[in-house]
Each structure stands twice: as C-alpha cells, then as structure tokens.
C-alpha cells in the first residue's frame, strides 16, 4: 500500500442543527426530518437509511410541525406563520401560504388525507382543504384562549383533540365548536407555579385521548365524558413528543431527559380480552431533549436536540433477525461538506452561512509508522466568507488549483477568484452570474480549473468556461425524459473528457465534454448513488451505492470492468455490507492504477484490485501485519480490502499527492460540547 504522511485535521468546527420534527410516510417508507435551522431532509428507510433529498434551510423558517398528506405531499408550518408545501421532484418550495393566525405551532392531516388542520398562536384552529395544486382555507374552529400547541385527528375524522396550555379541548369537526375542555393538573398530585404545556396529543379510535405534557405525565382521557382515565408519571422533566402506531396497539413518547418510552396495549392476564396500556421499554439513546418521535410499523424513530436520528427496530415486529434489526444512529452528514485543492493544500469547509478556507500545515520531519510528526508551520485560517441573505448554502467547491471558489444558495450563485501573492490572499467576486445557475445541487471544477460544472435542481447540467476574471456559458445538458429528478452527484475525469452525473432514476449518465453529447448510461440500480469518481488513466467510473455496493464501469468500453464483474459474482464480505454509514468520497492514486481509496464515517479503505478478493470466511478488518510475521500468515490474510479504522469519525479523506493523505475528523465530544444545556439528572454517588 505504501507509506503516507497523514494530515489529521480537527479544526473543522462542524455542528449540525438539532432535529425539531419527524414525519414518517408509510407508503413510500420515507422519513422527513426538519431541523432547527429550517433544513428539511428526506431519508429513504428502505435504501439503508440514506438521506436522498434535502431542502436547504432559511433563517426565518423555524419549522414547528411537519406532516405528509395524501399523494406524497409534504407540508410544514412554522413560527413565521406560513404553511409551506415542498416539491419533492424539483427540490424547491412550491409555495408558502400565510395562515393569518400568527405563528403556527402544530399541524395535522386528516386520516383521509384531504384536509389540513393548523393550530396557531392566537388560539384558533384553522381547517384547510387540500386541492390538487394548492391548499385552500375552509373555516376556523372556535377560538381558544391560549396557543394551540398540539393537534390530533380522530381516525374517523369527526373529532379533533387540541392541546394548549393547562387544558385540552375536544372539537367536533362538523360544527367547529369545542365539545369538551379537559383541564390538566399542573403537577402530578400537587401544585406548581409553572404552567402545564401540553406538548403532544393523540386521539385513538376508541375515543381515548393521550396527552403528554411538561410536568412529565402521560395521561389517558375519555373524550366522550371529558374525564381523566389514567395518569402515568414517567419523567421529572417534560415529555415532549408522542407518536402512535397505525394499529393503535403501541405508542412511543420522548422526554426531555433523552429517554424514549414505549407503551403497549397488553392484555391484563394471559387469556383475558381486557387490555390496558403498559409502559414496556425505556430507551436511552439521546443525551438531550427528544423533541420528535415517529412510529413506523417496525421501528421507533426519535430525534432531538442532540442532532442524532435514532431508528430502533422493534424486535417483535421484525421478521428476519439479521443486521437490519440493529439500532441505527445517523449523526454525520451523508454528503460531502469539504472540498480540497490538492496543488495548494487548501481545504474549503462549508457551513450553513459561511465558508472557511484553511491551508494545511507542513512538516519537515520524518518518522516511523505511527509517529506524530511535529509541525513546522501551523494550519492557517485564510478566509472566512459569509454569505449574504438568510438562506443556507447548498453546496460549494474549490478548484484544484485553488484560484476559484464557487457556492450556491437557493436564489443565487457566487463565484470568486482568488489571487495569491506571497502569503496574502485577495478575493474578487465575479459578478452577474446567470440566473439559471442558482439552486445548484452540486458544483465541480475540472482538473485544469478551466471549466465549471453545475448540476441544478431542475435536472439540467451546465458547463461554464472560466476565463481570467469572467466566464462564458458553454453548454447545458437538459434532463433526458422530461421528468425532473434531482440530487445529482458529479464526477469529472482528470483528462477533462468525460463528465458523469448521477441522480436521474435512469442511472448514471456519462457525457462527452469534447463533443458535448451524451456518451452512455450506466444501467440503473435500485439504490441511490452515494459517491462517484473517474479514475485517471483508465477512465473507469467507480460508483458506490447506499447498500455498500461498489461498481466499476469502463467509460471508453461502455461496460462493467472485469474486476467489477468478479466481485459482483462473488459478492462483498458480509461485514462490508453491514456498515452503517455510506461511502461519501472516492479517490485514486496517480501512480498506482490498481488502487481505489474510499471512506465512510468510521473507516477508510484502499481497494487493491490486484490482490484476491475476500470471501465470507476471511478476516475483513485485519490489522497491519508486523514485518516479522511469517509469510504464510501474511499470504493467508492478504486480500484486496485494506481497511483502517485509525481515524474516525471521518468527514473527509483524500490523497493530496503520492505520499500524503488528509483526514478531516470530527470527534463526537466536540459536537456535544456545543449543544444547548441538557436536563440535570441526579445520579447516585455523584
């Protein structure tokens, strides 16, 4: 494999934003997650929990409620008072309609899927009709005294439970008037000065209303008589979210201490028909408030202020007990936030509202395997580029020569020219970028930094030629079949002839840049692509999918390579396929065409195509054999996948030149240190 000097970078101060709402869609097995900075991400739970789409955030859009309607339509309501519908095909906001009730706290879609209920700050509950292209205001229900913080429909669509501050109201949908008003105790069997905030309600089909509030209680109410049936005190802090399964035999609640409780309807004795709700399982996977939970048919999903998304499959619901039934914790992003300029040893970090440019340190010392070399020159923070406007940055890139930086937000595209004089750096903006470049999903520069490739969210690819201080639009590749499918990944070959673009459901397209036409299409695979790269001399396209399959396709020959066919026939090692996190970056060694370097969040791997492939019996993660081991053992354990887990969690890893690697790590403790305060927990012995 060779010896490398590794730049271990830990100054990327990446802190993801906390999860605010989670909504599960049963038909497509997708999860919509909204964060506190306004980003909405869509995870495909059947494609190995891969984040396939996302909508960039906005400073004024603080979403408080998220729900799916009939026909795969996603709605969200926030504190700016607007109901927003998202276009999942074109990856933009379809429209934002003001509800005229002040900030929106809660939203619920009716069981039939055609009506939308919104709970507002002024105490009004508004009913909207969902028409095929928009929503239309129908009427207001009776106005209540305080803000409506949670809403739930009865499965038949006739009644609604609305949780407010210190009370819960039950409305009749037809008349719009409040039928019952159930007052909630401020504290469990006591008096408290703090108001009791009903964070969540759920309406079951037998007329039971389940409420969770800020005093730590889960209460069962009978909506026909308006009385309290059962009271469970489960936490010392707020219980902030509730989600009921479709069969109504189990529900999950999340507390502010980070605990998630599972309640199930079990029969009182083993052969009686009478059932009661029992708290069965506690899960402690979070350290901070769990502000959103969802219940899919087989799993409990929770997300909160500690930014993890935890999916816990329930063992009794899972049919096949394999690795699919393990806990999944999604912490790190599924796309690349870092780009690298190899010539000048620069790293560009993408944050939500600014970009940072760093120059790597250098060292002149040498050492043995495992040594830490002292730096002769420290890493340098060269540039802190703030974006104008309230929108988040979608994607960014730096050219390999280091003289161009480009980034895109929803409404604008920015291109900057950098000039280096001795140790100083000066920035110059290229003005009047064309409007079709905005909302770009992926930006890439060619190897010689003369061309810029932009994949827009409409599905089209733009090629711009870069001249000194200005640009010229060369060509646009339109999407093929008239459907708009975004989430593009781009890869360009080092000789500048080929451009590969993924994201269309028809597979990966390869374009010939010299002749500006489509060259070929890699056959479609049913899992989304997570990383793409084209090898230097052989022009082999290496594709990594979310189910951890890696394909190699030869572009000049328009077919899969021999090595790829061999490994597909044999299959990957089972431990390789059981990895949790997707491969986010692939790169190559300039002098060794048989090596492919790829990494995911917890390992990096160099695949040596000349060595034999491992079968299920061989050890996949074999440590570096010491040189004094016998040749026999070394031959037995040598296989193509050289995996190292020294640097983790990895956000980015790349080969700078023949003997240098750069690894950007982000330890979890550094993220946790910057989160909001958690609830104090009294532990014995401290």
């Amino acid at each position: 494999m060779g010896e490398f000097k590794v730049h271990r970078v830990r100054f990327f101060n990446y802190v993801p934003s906390g999860i605010r709402c989670v909504a599960y869609n049963n038909q497509s097995n997708r999860l919509a997650v909204s964060r506190t900075d306004g980003t909405v991400e869509i995870y495909n739970l059947s494609a190995n929990y891969f984040q396939e789409k996302f909508f960039p955030g906005h400073e004024s859009r603080a979403t408080e409620a998220l729900c799916w309607a009939k026909g795969q339509r996603l709605f969200s309501g926030g504190l700016n008072g607007e109901i927003i519908e998202y276009d999942l095909q074109a990856l933009n906001i379809k429209y934002a309609m003001d509800a005229f009730g002040g900030p929106i706290w809660s939203m619920a879609v009716s069981p039939c899927g055609s009506q939308l209920l919104v709970g507002c700050e002024d105490g009004s509950v508004k009913l909207f009709q969902i028409t095929p292209d928009k929503i239309q205001f129908e009427r207001n229900f009776d106005r209540q005294k305080s803000r409506i913080l949670s809403l739930s429909w009865h499965p038949s669509g006739t009644h609604i439970a609305a949780g407010s501050i210190d009370y819960i109201s039950v409305f009749d949908v037809k008349s719009g008037s409040a039928v019952h008003k159930m007052l909630v105790d401020r504290q469990y069997m006591g008096v408290s000065k703090r108001k009791c905030i009903i964070w969540g309600v759920a309406f079951l089909s037998d007329g039971t209303v389940i409420s969770v509030d800020s005093a730590g209680k889960v209460q069962f109410w009978d909506s026909a008589t308006g009385t309290l049936v059962k009271n469970h005190l489960i936490a010392n802090a707020d219980v902030q979210s509730i989600a009921v399964s479709d069969q109504e035999d189990s529900f999950v609640v999340g507390t502010a201490e980070g605990t998630v409780f599972h309640f199930q309807l079990v029969s009182v004795t083993s052969n009686s028909s009478e059932k009661q709700w029992v708290r069965t399982k506690p899960f402690q996977h979070h350290t901070h408030d769990v502000r959103a939970v969802a219940h899919s048919p087989t799993a409990l999903i929770s997300g909160g202020t500690d930014t993890h998304l935890v999916i816990r499959p329930l063992m009794e619901k899972v049919e096949v007990k394999n690795y699919d039934a393990a806990l999944r914790k999604i912490t790190f992003p599924h796309r690349r936030l870092i780009s690298c300029s190899k010539k000048r040893h620069l790293l560009l970090f993408q944050f939500a509202h600014h970009l940072e440019l760093w120059r790597l340190g250098s060292t002149v010392a040498t050492g043995k395997n495992g040594d830490t070399l002292p730096l002769s020159k420290d890493a340098d923070h060269l540039l802190h580029l703030k974006t104008k406007g309230p929108e988040n940055i979608i994607c960014s890139c730096i050219s390999p020569c280091g003289s161009w930086i480009a980034y895109s937000t929803t409404s604008r595209f920015f291109l900057y020219r950098l000039n280096y004089e001795h140790d100083n750096i000066s920035l110059q903006r290229v003005s009047k970028m064309p409007a079709f470049l905005r909302s770009a999903l992926q930006i890439l520069f060619s190897e010689d930094s003369t061309k810029l490739f932009v994949a827009s969210n409409q599905g089209s690819l733009h090629i711009i030629r870069l001249l000194e201080g200005s640009f010229k639009h060369l060509h646009t590749f339109q999407p093929q079949s008239g459907t708009v499918e975004s989430m593009c990944l781009l890869a360009v070959s080092p000789d500048g002839n080929w451009l590969a673009a993924s994201g269309t459901s028809a597979g990966v397209h390869v374009y010939n840049i010299k002749h500006l036409k489509l060259h070929c299409t890699v056959p479609a695979y049913n899992f989304p692509v997570t990383a793409l790269a084209i090898a230097p001399n052989t022009n082999n396209l290496v594709i990594a999918h979310s189910d951890q399959q890696v394909f190699e396709y030869s572009i000049p020959e328009k077919q899969y390579t021999e090595w790829s066919r061999t490994i597909q026939k044999q299959g990957f090692h089972y431990l390789w396929l059981q990895r949790d996190t997707p491969i986010t970056h692939i790169s190559f060694h300039p002098k060794r065409p048989m090596h492919i370097l790829l990494h995911d969040a917890y390992m990096f791997c160099i695949i040596d195509k000349s060595l034999p492939l491992p079968n299920d019996k061989t050890l996949l993660y074999n440590p570096l054999p010491p040189t004094n081991e016998s040749d026999v053992i070394r031959r037995r354990t040598a296989h193509a996948f050289k995996i190292s887990k020294i640097y983790k969690p990895l956000l980015f890893m790349d080969l700078l030149d023949e003997r240098t690697l750069v690894a950007v790590e982000r330890p979890l403790d550094d993220i946790i240190a910057q989160l909001p305060p958690p609830i104090k927990k009294k532990k014995f012995g401290t």
Partner: protein, 258 residues
C-alpha cells in the same frame, strides 16, 4: 307662589300691520309663536317683546287678530321654502368641501404611490429589470427572494405590494410594510415562549460539561471532568500576576548583576 305678571301676550294688531316688512316677519313669527303659545301662556311662554303697559291696556280692548287662512298658508310656505333652501345650500357647501378634501387625498396618495408605469410593469410581471423610483420605496425591505407570492388584492391602497414573480429573472421582491412589524414581534414572542418554557427559570437544566463530567465519573474507568480548565476565570488576577512576575524578574536581574 309667585304671582307672575301676565305677559304681553298680545301685540296690538295695528302696530303689526303698520310696521315694515322685516319687522312684520319677525312679529309674524312672534305671533305664530304667540298663537301657539296662547293656551299655555304663563311662566313657560315664549319670550316675546314685553310691553307691559300696553299689554295691560290692550288685553281688554283688542280682539284677537284675524288672519285669513290663505295668508297664513302663504307665510308657512314661504318659511318652508326658505328653510329648504338654506338646507340645500348647506348641503352643497358640505359636498363641495368633501369633494375638495377627497381630491386632495387622492393627489397625496398618488404622490406617494409609484409612478404608473412601474405599477403596470409590476402587475404584468415583466421580465425586465425595473428601475427604482428614488425615495418612494423603503429600501430596507427589498430583498431577493425565490418564492412565488400572490399579488396584493388592493393594488391602489397599498404602498408597496407583494408581486407575482414568474420565471428565473427575479431581481427583487416588494413587501407590504404594514403588518410586518407585528408579524416579527409575534414570531419573536413565540420563540421567547419556547425558550422560556424549555430553558427558562424553573427548568432543571445544567451545562454540557457538568453533564459530561458526571458521566465520566460514572464510567467503569473513571475519567477526568469534561472541562477541567476554565480559561475565562480570573483574567484580571492572571494579568496582574504576569505583570508582577515580569517586574520581579527585572528586579532580580538588577540585584544579581550588582
């Protein structure tokens, strides 16, 4: 009980007939009132010209004046006509006044609105970049947005309005100012509510490093507290100490040299 002198309820008719027209009008009116007030004369009688002596004298002599019905009718009609005319004049005056005020208002509004050509272009959602008219728009609220917004329904009344933006050539968006402050303050109040209820007084919150330190203490292999050093503590003391140390070193050097 006060004995009130009977008022001069009757002006001698001869006096009435002889006097000039205006006087007679007045006195006709007075008589009118007199005729009316006849049955209820007394303390509440209409104020009339008091001619005590004459009244006393003529009460017995004179017979009540005789007026023909026609003349009385004519008089009444005259009166009505006069009243009507005065009312009409008043009304027209008022109308004119109102009209003038309306025109003034319209003109003022027009001055404050954007010039017509810009409004036209906004309503037809033109693709071209429109030049701003100076000083008419509040620049603070112009922003570049990518959202489609509905056009304000009353285009004349709004100062500036949200405009329909079509296509990709959107360079700015005009926002209605009225209500924006209210919306912002409501949003801030809502955010403050959430912050207060989750992190405000009465909640049992602790800092992250205390939380992690407790966890480290409970691990099977005990680790140190998460943030052992508080670099921000005692900055002044540290500065003083540094200065003192420097001075002490200098002094020490001096004495050692000697």
């Amino acid at each position: 009980m006060v004995q009130l002198r009977p008022r001069a309820s009757r002006v001698p008719p001869s006096a009435m007939v002889d006097e000039g027209q205006p006087a007679s009008e007045e006195e006709e009116e007075a008589e009118h009132g007199l005729l009316l007030g006849q049955p209820s004369s007394g303390a509440a009688a209409e104020p009339l010209e008091e001619d005590d002596e004459e009244g006393d004298d003529e009460e017995d002599d004179e017979a009540p004046e005789e007026l023909t019905f026609a003349s009385a009718q004519a008089e009444a009609r005259e009166e009505e006509r006069r009243v009507r005319e005065s009312v009409r004049r008043d009304k027209t005056l008022l109308k004119e006044k109102r009209k003038r005020r309306e025109e003034l208002f319209i003109e003022q509004k027009k001055r404050k609105l954007l010039p017509d050509n810009i409004l036209e272009k906004l309503t037809t959602a033109g693709q071209t970049n429109i030049k701003k008219s100076s000083g008419k728009l509040k620049e603070a609220n112009l922003q570049k947005e990518n959202e489609d917004c509905d056009k304000g329904s009353d285009s004349k009344k709004a100062k500036v309005q949200k405009v329909q933006s079509v296509g990709q050539d959107k360079s700015y968006l005009a926002l209605r100012l009225k209500g924006q402050d209210l919306r912002d303050s409501r949003q801030q109040a809502a955010e403050a509510f959430v912050q207060n209820s989750l992190y405000g007084p009465g909640t049992n919150r602790t800092t992250v490093n205390k939380f992690l330190s407790l966890e480290h203490k409970r691990l099977p292999v005990k680790k140190a507290a998460a943030q052992f050093l508080n670099n921000a503590w005692g900055t002044q003391k540290r500065q003083n100490a540094k200065r003192f140390k420097r001075r002490w070193m200098v002094r020490k050097m001096k004495t050692s040299k000697k």
